[in-house]
């Protein structure tokens, strides 16, 4: 199979994987629901004449506050695209794993991983392209003209692109860890915990400033406006550091995957 066919096959496999669609649903419906609640509560505060009880009244900020759910969606896709290959079939059907078929069909292992990584990028980009405008639209429709939009269109586009980059890199890191571990448990726990308020990386920054160079801490300025912790890297160097981690983990995963038994 040539590279394009491998990619098309992976895209199709992922599109028929229920778990991948649950990742899409978490990102899309979860963000929409959180945005709706946020927007309704902002509208209520504005109607009561107490806008100061809210951190912001901007519709875009209301939609952007739901960004962590997109990270979860990306993690779920990055994990299941590979962990699904290792799920054993029913013993009545031979108890085989899909990975053996995948490798029989495309024996070039590097090409297979590259196709899967490209599939993750496509999925996350499509999710972002749908989720962010839908959420922003919901917030605008609910809050309407009452709120003060503090974010210009240019800033909004930059921040959406930054957030999409963060989602993509996190999805790829989840993928690389899953390749290494051949199981979804470790990346799911590590990455969901680190997207939350009780992040281990965040805790480590209390011990040593070096923790600001961990991938999730380095990249968090990509969510400009959501950052709550002082210090650390700025958006562009942070994105480069996070990209470096992603690339490094993908290379390690590729080397390991090339050399070990399926």
């Amino acid at each position: 199979m040539n590279a394009w066919n491998t990619f098309a096959a992976e895209l199709r496999k992922t599109a028929t994987l229920p778990a991948a669609w649950s990742g899409v649903a978490v990102a899309l419906l979860g963000s929409a629901a959180i945005t709706l609640l946020n927007a309704i509560s902002i509208r209520a505060a504005l109607a009561a004449g107490r806008p100061e009880t809210r951190a912001f009244t901007s519709p875009f900020e209301a939609a952007f506050a739901a960004m962590p759910l997109g990270t979860i969606g990306a993690v779920v896709i990055g994990v299941t695209i590979f962990s699904s290959e290792y799920t054993a079939n029913s013993t009545d059907a031979g108890g085989g794993r899909q990975i053996t078929t995948a490798l029989a069909a495309s024996p070039r292992r590097v090409g297979l991983l590259a196709a899967k990584a490209a599939t993750i990028v496509v999925f996350v980009a499509v999710i972002a392209a749908v989720t962010l405008p839908v959420s922003a639209g919901i917030a605008r429709a609910v809050i309407g003209e009452a709120g003060t939009e503090t974010v210009t269109l240019g800033e909004a586009v930059t921040r959406c692109l930054g957030g999409t980059l963060y989602w993509t890199l996190t999805g790829l890191i989840a993928f690389a860890i899953t390749v290494l571990a051949r199981s979804g448990i470790i990346p799911l726990i590590v990455l969901i915990v680190n997207s939350s308020l009780v992040s281990f990386s965040l805790l480590l920054t209390k011990l040593t400033p070096l923790a600001h160079w961990l991938p999730d801490m380095a990249g968090r300025r990509l969510f400009d406006g959501l950052s709550t912790v002082e210090g650390g890297l700025d958006a562009v160097p942070g994105a480069l550091v996070m990209g470096g981690w992603t690339l490094g983990l993908l290379i390690v995963a590729t080397v390991v995957f090339r050399r070990r038994d399926a």
């Binding site: 778990a19 649950s22 978490v26 979860g30 959180i34 609640l37 946020n38 509560s41 506050a65 739901a66 962590p68 759910l69 979860i72 993690v75 779920v76 994990v79 299941t80 962990s83 799920t87 054993a88 029913s90 013993t91 108890g95 979804g184 448990i185 799911l188 726990i189 969901i192 915990v193 997207s195 939350s196 308020l197 009780v198 281990f200 805790l203 480590l204 209390k206 011990l207």
Partner: protein, 244 residues
């Protein structure tokens, strides 16, 4: 459903969990990460000269421990579906009600024991680190009862995950769903609306942090139990009726 048979089934389920490497690793991980986190928090507090007691630090570490107990609660139900084991279990214990009861009791025992040991070792680690770092004398800490509340809270979080896992059967959706609820959705909703206090993980947190205007530790635990019973009954009803 005689008690002798329930005892046997529970022992069998406990044996399965004991020989499952993932459970052992999770329990060890929960205990070790509790120690590491309390040491980090104590050292950070000492650095800033904050007046934090060992009990206070241990309670601060509880939210970090939740993820381990979610995993521990998910494993007993989902590992059986990874291969053919579930059919073997049904062959040996055809009474599905008995099987699910034994499984739940075993999960409860493992989660509760791990929570108690985890809180205990975290407290010990915090106490030792405070002595080593010459931390300033502690503020009043509200006595040992919140610690028992924290252990109960982690146990209930584990039980909630067990109920979710019984319902959805597969590891990845159960783990991702419960973790997202506890760690992402609930804090985000908590910042938006006061009604978020009725979510199971926020209600049960009242057991060790009695800071809510409406829910007390007792009613908070009852709300969480209500969620567990609700999800658990749907799960058990499905478990009893569907194909293996």
């Amino acid at each position: 459903m005689s008690t002798v048979r329930l005892g046997n089934v529970t022992m069998a389920e406990l044996g399965k969990l004991r020989t499952l490497p993932a459970t052992t690793l999770t329990v060890i991980g929960a205990i070790l990460s509790g120690i590491v986190i309390t040491v980090v928090l104590t050292a950070a507090a000492a650095d800033q000269g904050a007046r934090a007691s060992a009990i206070g630090i241990t309670l601060q570490a509880v939210p970090f421990a939740q993820a381990w107990f979610v995993l521990l609660g998910v494993l007993p139900a989902t590992h059986e579906y990874a291969g053919r084991q579930f059919r073997t279990s049904l062959t040996s214990v055809p009474d599905r009600g008995l099987l699910v009861t034994g499984k739940t009791v075993a999960a409860l025992l493992v989660v509760a024991a791990s929570a108690a040991v985890g809180i205990g070792t975290s407290l010990a680690a915090a106490t030792i680190t405070r002595h080593l770092t010459d931390a300033p004398p502690a503020a009043h800490d509200g006595g040992p009862w919140p610690l028992a509340g924290a252990a109960a809270c982690l146990t209930l979080i584990g039980l909630l995950s067990h109920a979710v896992a019984l319902l959805v059967r597969h590891l990845v959706p159960a783990l991702a769903g419960t973790l997202s609820l506890v760690l992402i959705v609930s804090p985000v909703l908590g910042g938006l609306t006061e009604h978020a206090r009725w979510l199971p993980d926020r209600a049960v947190a009242r057991l060790y942090a009695d800071t809510d205007a409406v829910l007390t530790p007792g009613t908070g635990a009852l709300v969480a139990l209500g969620w567990i019973v609700l999800i658990g009954s749907v799960a058990i009803a499905r478990f009893s009726r569907r194909d293996a």
